[in-house]
């Protein structure tokens, strides 16, 4: 490969970090791909095993879990930085790869996936879920499903596909590939029998008839079958059973396959993280990481950037739970319900490109379930007034909410409201989390985003 292209691109990362222009997690790759459009393919060829993980929700955490277990196994691998999940982020990671790293573990944006797969040619492709997310950016869910379908149809048979049996659309896509294994959750007390309003994928991908659910775990995930044709949830090779959610303290469950069965404990909250851990287990088993290493890797995982991350702010504990779409936000609320007592809540809503310009999704979040558990509510972000109206029309008194126009005012308000040693739950969208982090960074409460790996 052209040495000039490589050194220019590499230098750009150093320059952008030095000048404080940003993380340098995407710029080198962006420059390289401009200079050398086939660079991704060329660099990927040098790897022996490439694992690609994609989903609307959970891909960052799951990629972290797999990386953790790979670390335990002393596998030397290259991975992209959380959130840098387009071609530029992956190219940057590959560019900065150490030559003895023969494994690649990448989380990939669901819209970018169909274009990236032929270039990366993964040995293992993991598809977790597709939820409605940012209609202005991704378009309709059906469009993504169609693109994924074409992608799977042109996948070489050697690619091992790992797919969530509980997602009806994905399970159907999985059935189109020879080399596929499914994972899914067994019946659990945390499931329900009714589909929440505004769930996606309610019709059979094959015959358009309505689907019937025996169990619903998150959104449209669960135990399903078509009312009309023979399409139904495939029997998973990897199962999660005996789930116990311990609120913000974490979760435990039994993961099992034909080969083995093990108890998995994770310090992460909510059934969505059980899905993430089960996905990581299925992926690690597929690349022959031992159960002991998987167990250890998962139990010591720390929260990914903004996912139940705890930041100490002048003696107040801020628990940050990223919420960027209804499915994720509803999971966060369910986790909060498992906590005792009332809570100080801060919700931040932005509508920048990375958040989605359309904020109508907040009306599909069931804030109603936590209304009587709120001891104070602070609202902030570019679209704070839309959130305020959301709460107003849920019956929450307008006089009891505080609207903070800036991060600084938000922090000041939390400080005046919450006692030392108290805690606040913060539910931000992606860019409002970056704003919050920048605000906290300014006063020395947290580190910068690009120091995260």
């Amino acid at each position: 490969m052209s040495n000039i292209a490589l050194s220019l691109a590499k230098a750009s990362g150093w320059i952008s970090r030095t000048l404080g222009l940003g993380g340098g997690t995407t710029l080198p790759g962006m420059i390289l791909l401009k200079l050398r459009p086939h660079a991704l393919q060329e660099m990927a060829q040098e790897l022996e095993e490439i694992i690609v993980i994609s989903a609307t929700n959970g891909k960052t955490t799951t990629a972290r879990m797999v990386s953790h277990a790979a670390n335990e196994s002393e596998i030397s691998f290259v991975a992209n930085t959380s959130g840098a999940n387009l071609s530029s982020g992956i190219a940057t990671a590959l560019l900065q790869r150490n030559p003895d790293e023969k494994f690649g573990i990448f989380e990939v944006d669901e819209a970018a996936l169909p274009e990236l797969i032929p270039q990366l040619r993964p040995t293992v492709l993991v598809l977790m879920n597709l939820f409605r997310d940012q209609l202005d950016r991704y378009g309709e869910l059906e469009t993504t499903i169609q693109k994924w379908k074409e992608m799977i149809e042109s996948l070489p048979e050697t690619t091992k596909l790992i797919i969530n049996a509980d997602d009806p659309a994905l399970a159907y896509l999985g059935s189109l590939h020879q080399n596929v294994q499914f994972f899914g959750l067994e019946l659990t007390d945390y499931g329900s029998e009714t589909i929440p309003h505004a769930a996606d994928s309610l019709h059979c991908q094959k015959c358009d008839s309505p689907l019937i659910f025996q169990q619903v775990t998150i959104g449209h995930l669960g135990h399903w079958e078509c009312q009309n044709c023979e399409l139904r949830r495939p029997n998973p090779s990897f199962t999660g059973d005996k789930i116990n959610l311990k609120g913000l303290n974490g979760s435990e469950f039994i993961a099992a396959s034909k080969k083995d069965s093990l108890e998995i404990q994770i310090p992460l909250a909510g059934i969505h993280n059980v899905y993430n851990a089960l996905t990581a287990y299925a992926t690690c088993s597929t690349i022959d990481i031992s159960t002991r290493k998987i167990q250890k890797g998962l139990s010591t995982i720390s929260a990914a950037f903004g996912r139940n991350e705890i930041i100490n702010f002048d003696g107040i504990e801020l628990i940050i739970m990223l919420a960027k779409n209804p499915a994720g936000a509803n999971q966060n609320l369910k986790t909060l319900l498992l906590e005792e007592g009332n809570m100080h809540l801060a919700i931040l809503l932005n509508d920048r490109t990375a958040d989605g310009k359309d904020v109508s999704w907040i009306w599909d979040v069931d804030y109603e379930i936590i209304l009587d558990r709120i001891s104070s509510l602070t609202i902030s972000g570019d679209r704070a007034y839309d959130l305020a109206l959301r709460f107003h029309y849920s019956g929450f008194p307008a006089t009891s909410m505080h609207i903070a126009p800036s991060i600084q005012e938000l922090l000041e308000h939390l400080k005046s409201t919450i006692k030392i040693d108290g805690r606040a739950i913060v539910l931000p969208t992606y860019t409002s989390m970056l704003d919050l982090r920048a605000g906290l960074n300014k006063i020395g409460a947290t580190h910068s985003f690009w120091e995260e790996k």
Partner: protein, 246 residues
């Protein structure tokens, strides 16, 4: 207590733009004025009985779901026409406005039938019209700014029997050409505006409520004024952010 009966058409299929917000606003603004309300979901295969409702809501959906719904709506067409003639209130948003018209010609030239309660026709455009939308709206000679968000591929043109809901100050509206947005015919309103539309536009919400109460009681009601300060502030912030001068 007078009960206003609301029909929510296809809530499972047509709900992708926070349509629940519009229903919540209708219910709360009735409740705050001492009216009760009932919501009846009507789905594919269910009968629609025109005399059972005062207001009928239909939201936006994905293309595939909209197709499923379009064919089911044909079976309800006669009942919907009789309801419209009888003065029932309709709010049909996004995919809804397309289904309320004569029909929709998609990008491959296929024709999807509408029910024809609004005199308008839609065909697919090359690009999607996406972004903030601000209108000077007019209903019964009364005017107000209305603000929302649009995201549609359809280009809708009105026939002589429908009047636009408003003229576009910012955004694309019905077709991106004639600066019109939405359609009104009797008490049926179709619009591309979501966001959802009603929370930030209490003026429009109260027009619909007032019509629905009149449909139920036969009398034009005097609506108790509500404190709209939060709604108005939210609207003003949205208008300013969209770059429209007051």
């Amino acid at each position: 207590m007078t009960e206003i009966r609301i029909c929510h058409l296809y809530p499972k299929e047509m709900n992708i733009y926070g349509d629940r917000g519009n229903i919540a606003v209708i219910q709360k603004r009735l409740e705050w004025r001492g009216y009760s309300s009932s919501i009846t979901p009507i789905s594919t295969g269910d009968d629609f009985t025109p005399t059972n409702f005062d207001l009928c809501y239909l939201g936006g959906g994905q293309d595939r779901d909209q197709m499923i719904v379009a064919y089911d709506l044909q079976k309800k067409s006669a009942a919907l026409h009789s309801a419209a003639k009888d003065g029932m209130v309709f709010l049909w948003v996004c995919g809804g406005i397309q289904l309320a018209g004569e029909g929709y010609t998609d990008s491959e030239g296929r024709r999807i039938p509408g029910v024809g309660i609004l005199d308008l026709d839609t065909s697919a455009g090359k690009s999607r019209l996406i972004g903030d939308l601000v209108l000077d709206a007019e209903l019964n000679g009364d005017t107000c700014k209305v603000v929302g968000y649009e995201n549609h591929a359809g280009r809708t043109f009105l026939g002589p029997d429908a009047t636009p809901l408003g003229s576009v100050l910012k955004g694309h509206g019905n077709n991106g050409i004639d600066r019109t947005e939405g359609a009104v015919q009797r008490r049926a309103i179709g619009t591309y505006m979501h966001g959802p539309i009603l929370p930030k536009n209490p003026w429009l919400a109260d027009k619909l409520l007032s019509w629905a109460i009149e449909h139920k009681t036969g009398k034009v009601p005097t609506l108790t004024p509500l404190d709209n300060s939060l709604e108005n502030l939210a609207q003003q912030v949205a208008i300013t952010r969209a770059g429209v001068k007051r």
